[in-house]
Assembly symmetry: C2
Homo-oligomer: 214 residues x 2
DNA sequence: ATAAAAAAGGGGAAATATCCCCTTAAAAGT
DNA sequence: ACTTTTAAGGGGATATTTCCCCTTTTTTAT
């Protein structure tokens, strides 16, 4: 009987190693590699002949996160199924991950048996969506405004991040090598896009959307 | 040879089960139980004769968190050593956990061997402090103000929360039934206490300290 | 009881932020 | 080739924030 090859990607070594042990005990599966960030997956897939059938992917990781890595796999190796495994139960994150191509989304507080079942399903039918995830999707349909849909340009993002410091606009301008007047344009553009009336509003948006992390 | 009895406490079932497998493979240890929050530890310890020598404790858990559970153990069963195992690397959390009586503090991204070594050390000499933790302690000594120790008065807190909205100070004054000039006093007092130079600084503080939740 | 601290309010000035409307040059789309 | 969009910058006015120094009344400590 052929085992299903799996790659585990998680930056918490203790977790990924423990998971390795766990999955290796499932008779259907073989852990091909345990990697610690998205970049490692890209490298692995680019340099090995034997590829995994399933990648069990964390989301928050350094260098290249799970969303970017999943997108890359969808674009370059669509035959590899990604199953997301994260602690993050936030709607936005789930949506981003699914849009990037994940075939399922599990939370880290599930029972090992669920993981085993999910892996088998992903292999057999190509996906595994829990009730949890489905509900989240339903919720996000109900709300008209999906905040994260607002796309900011590189420079706007840079400006927004700087707004979340105690710099004045003049200082921000210097930092961005722009005239204070140009920086004002950025401010006004963001006020409109993000429906903010003051700089505080920009800061609140940036933090809510995790554009800046505190 | 007597094995060292351990209890694992973590609300992420997948992680705790995987950890269980991992530790059970270490020949020196025996996993007595896998529990999912602080309250379960208190119940377990209260109702069993065979007690663990070490509790491997997560921090963020529902019902009763790791800090409270560790404090309870210190007060009621001081012979049981608690080794904290968390993803949270924030200074405040580490300090709280150590003050509550933890004999060490590991991050979840360590190598399994470190965990094994830490458990052995905790059993042998009673504690295991990594370089990481020691540095954090040193840092917190260097800064005179240990953030969460800053105590704000009721009214200051109310004002601070309002600062985290798009209201102007004049509007905040009306809302608090104060003159704009009095509100200015609050602002200046908070600038000093929280070492902020602008209102943005106040907002960042309030969010960091979870005085306002986004 | 009395000194000290806290709470409330103020004057006046300079710096910043906010608003609205406008110009020019480069880039992108068609 | 031509229009549209974007990036960069400006003028000028008003509102808000920030700063520093001050008074009065009420609370709190000793």
């Amino acid at each position: 009987m052929n085992k299903i090859d799996i790659i585990i990607v998680d930056d918490h070594l203790l977790f990924s190693q423990a998971l390795n042990g766990l999955i290796s005990n499932f008779k259907e599966f073989n852990v091909l590699a345990v990697l610690s960030n998205g970049k490692d997956v890209v490298d692995y897939v680019s340099n090995h002949n034997k590829l995994p059938q399933i990648v069990l992917m964390d989301i928050q990781m350094p260098i290249m996160n799970g969303i970017e890595a999943t997108q890359w796999l969808k674009d370059n190796r669509p035959e590899i199924k990604v199953l997301a495994l994260s602690m993050e139960a936030e709607e936005n994150t789930i949506l981003k991950m699914l849009r990037a191509g994940a075939k399922g989304y599990l939370l880290k507080d599930i029972h090992p048996r669920i993981l085993q079942h999910a892996l088998k399903e992903v292999h057999k039918v190509g996906f595994y969506y829990t009730e949890n995830i489905t509900n989240t999707l339903l919720n996000s349909i109900d709300k008209p405004e999906q905040s994260s849909a607002i796309k900011l340009k590189e420079r706007e993002l840079e400006f927004l991040k700087l707004c979340c410091s105690e710099m004045t606009y003049k200082q921000i301008a210097e930092h961005m090598f722009l005239s204070p007047k140009t920086v004002e344009n950025y401010r006004e553009a963001l006020f409109e896009k993000l429906e903010a009336k003051t700089r505080i509003g920009l800061v609140l948006y940036a933090i809510k959307e995790k554009i800046v992390i505190l």
